[in-house]
Amino acid sequence: MAPLLEWVFSGKGLSVAGALAIAVIVIASEVLGNRRRTNARNVTAVPITPRQKQMRTGALMALLLIFPLLLGTYVSEVLDQVGLYILMGLGLNVVVGFAGLLDLGYVGFFAIGAYAMGMLTSPELGLASLSWWTALPIAVSITILAGIMLGVPVLNMRGDYLAIVTLGFGEIIRLLALSDALRPWTGGSQGIQLIAKPVVGTMVLDNQLKLYYLILAGCLLAGFISSRLRDSRLGRAWMAMREDEDVAQAIGINLVATKLLAFSVGAAFGGLSGAIFAAKLGAIYPNSFGLLISINVLALLIIGGMGSIRGVVVGALVLVGLPELLREFAEFRLLVYGALLVVMMLYRPQGLWPEDARKLEAHEDDGLSGDSSAAPAGRIIEPA
């Protein structure tokens, strides 16, 4: 096992040879898998029995638990980052994917969670030095409050305008954290150091591997909450609102409450992610909370499939995991990333692994399917 790993991963990340080998394996399995799938399509689909489903879930869980143990520190580190993005992705998925409220300042909640954790636990600032677990609920509550405070003013906004206001919100949070005016509380450009690590029993979660299990637990919790919410009355209300706000209101959905709940659930997940992030690094700086993170989270939703919980996982693996592993190609990874977003939108706008319902929608020709790229050049644009 070890020599193979050494061949695939060089000191900093995936080696070029390893990357090629993995690419060949992935493409080959995709091609072979596709052939089998097309053959299988002629046979009537056999639904999965609950027992099979349980076994699959069990196998997946076992794999998730032992995976980092086998692959060592570097992969744990990458998985930690993927996990934090999955948490944020699940939160933004509630806001954008379920409720259809385009939020470009999601990093604001991540930052508030991290800063709240920093202020509450770091002895350096002398504000409070709680333990991580005591500070966690407070930090998450503060983030939820921030979500509501952002939500109230934008209740009447839609589409692009909402996107811009939320983008402004995210930047305001970062700029405030950076400013000298708030230095006594946020540490200005120096950031906050000495943030408490979570302690379980007598064990301090201070390395990537131990934190991986904390992040995994957070992701599972957030995934469970979002899947239950999606199938709940509230989830239906969100989706109705996403499809058409006016009709949703006409059928008796309280738009104010529904929107604010979407913002606060989204904020809570973001805050949780931020709190873990703060503990993971032990120190936070305002420049870790740039617009790029909001864009990344939105992009992983789109790559995975908007509104799809499993899509969030796939998107995070593709967008965060791959570039991390591809550090050897670092110079061009953001270039490739930009191109990938464009190509994705042109040819597969529904995402890599969309929800089943969305997949059906996308197959009807409603402009989502990407067929519009074949439209004649002179075609009239629909008025907005």
Binding site: V152, P153, V154, L155, N156, M157, R158, G159, D160, Y161, A163, I164, V165, L167, G168, F169, E171, I172, L175, L176, L178, S179, D180, A181, R183, E245, D246, V256, L291, L298, A299, I302, M306, E331, F332, L334, L335, Y337, G338, A339, L340, L341, V342, M344, M345, L346, P349, G367, L368, S372, S373, A375, A377, G378, R379, I380, I381, E382, P383, A384
Partner: protein, 353 residues
Amino acid sequence: MLKTSLARLTATDVVMFAVGLALSGIIVTGSVATLSSGKYTLAQWQDLFIFGLAQGSIYALIALGYTLVYGVLRMINFAHSEVFMSGPYTAYFFARWMFNTGFLQAQPVAGLLIVSAISMFTSMAIALTVERIAYRPLRNAPRLVPLITAIGASFFLQYTFRGLYGSGIDRYPELAILKGSISVMGVRVLVTQALVIVAAALFMAGLYAFVMLSKTGKAMRAVSEDKQTAQLMGIDVDRIITTTFALGGALAGAAGVLYALIFGQVQFYMGFVPGIKAFTAAVLGGIGHVPGAMVGGLFLGVFESGGPSLVFGWVGIPAPNQLKDAIAFTMLVFVLIFRPSGILGERLATKKA
């Protein structure tokens, strides 16, 4: 009458009204306190104002690009900040070459014109390419889709330019004729600032004349009113959209050179902040509205330059200037909340998007 309007009042309206009141209170008391404290002299205010005007005219030129595109396509061109960056960055190499050969010092006017022309041309070419590849195939797609391609295109351009020219900061050559200051009606104005303000004013006047007087400008206005009807009237909508992107790109390229003259440097990331600010300016003035972008740009520039000192100067917090970006964004948020139509525009924000 009063009863029904009271009944329609929701809790959120009341909260928002209170927030608005509190904010105006802070601004008014802050300004009065700072002015009466006499912390800054009149000359300092004048300097801040002139700098704001110069900065604001650059914002206005970029904002025109956003507003023109929004007018015809009802779409925010998020890649516009990279269109703005590409021009002066490419022109920089010509400027340095001309500087090294001595041409720029010998013929500064002709040299600057050449640099501007190259910058405008590059930005225009980039704007047209982005439109062709990332936006045109998606005209009928849901609105979120072109937004994402714009973000993708923006990344792609940033890192392409980083790959081409490197990630460092490059200094624009300094010109002797642009040093020093002149006095306009007793107010000291730096020559660069004067040049920027005058050039931006000329470009804006030219654009306004083009949109209002030329046949293509008329067609642009028709397309922004109603695309289908415009097409029925024999207007080639695709050609008009292309023209719009070209105009916006050229103005961004011009703005880029002016920006490089004031701040003296270029780098691959330089587009982001001015782009967001210019967008703010476009929204402030009323997006889709040409004079609105100009007014919004100038207003934002002046407010950003003088506002932090004016409102927070009296508190004595360290470095109020660091807050200028935060103030610009806060202002954007509040304009969108209280007057989504902007200073001059029509009400759009709550329309079905």
